[in-house]
Symmetry: C2
Subunit: 133 residues, 2 copies
DNA sequence: CTGACTGCAAACGTTTTGCACGGTA
DNA sequence: TACCGTGCAAAACGTTTGCAGTCAG
């Protein structure tokens, strides 16, 4: 928390209560849609605006504090930026979990037949989570 | 072409000129946004409606003829359904190419520590394509 | 104290819907 | 011929913008 206050200031962004609560909600919940984030923040600020959520999400994406995760057949979720990882998405309950798996071999495509310089790998594994099995 | 006419009928969908042109455009172009698809179809049908495009895209997704590909920082593209594969997206020119690479090892996650039954793997590699290097 | 941020309302772009007409089977 | 599909217009949705008041630094 204090952590993100400093991070915000380091990027010349004011550490408003709304912004701190956004990072907090993501820290606790891991992955959130705009909708759920709004619901959560409404409990803390009874008159927070969706516009504020959008403005801050976009600002924080630009500053690389958070990232959007696009998911097949579902709304995007947002998460705090951490080391590169993939995602497990449950087709039943919609839960999203991180999967830390080494995809660096994928970055060496330029050495093989396909001539493409890979900068980033986004992988989503869809299936059934532990609880839903 | 005749191919898709049959496929449509097999699914109790009428093989209208608009639908045939959609499959045709995807067959020729590989990956298209709604926007580009609309532009292409406008040249064949000077009064085609965006509503028609959307209705048909959704219908054909439901019938598994085509698939949506969600791309980081860009609009979704649509492609004809074929065997599972990944995508190479150029960050400079925006081009999308198929990459046929074996990801079946990813499906065996349930055998390891992570208990998750993987049904589908969606991977997008972002970087710089051959032409843009 | 001052510029940045919030919340509201309006605007915007994209996607969906309802309906009358037209075309496929 | 019967019904499905098209095109139009309007509506619904998610997101962005402009602005006046407020707050963090």
């Amino acid at each position: 928390m204090e952590n993100y206050t400093e991070m915000l200031r380091a990027h010349h962004l004011k550490a408003t209560p709304q912004r701190i609560e956004i990072t907090n909600a993501l820290l606790i919940n891991g992955h959130l849609t705009i909708e759920k984030l709004y619901d959560i923040l409404l409990k803390k600020f009874n008159s927070i605006s969706l516009a504020t959520i959008y403005k801050n999400i976009n600002l924080m994406i630009e500053n690389a504090f958070i990232q959007e995760v696009k998911i097949p057949n579902a709304k995007s979720v947002y998460e705090l930026t951490k080391e590169a990882h993939s995602h497990l998405v449950c087709e039943k309950c919609g839960s999203v979990e991180d999967l830390h798996i080494d995809l660096s071999p994928m970055k060496k495509l330029n050495l093989s037949k396909v001539d493409f310089q890979v900068n980033k790998v986004d992988m989503v594994l869809s299936g059934i989570c532990k609880n839903c099995q």
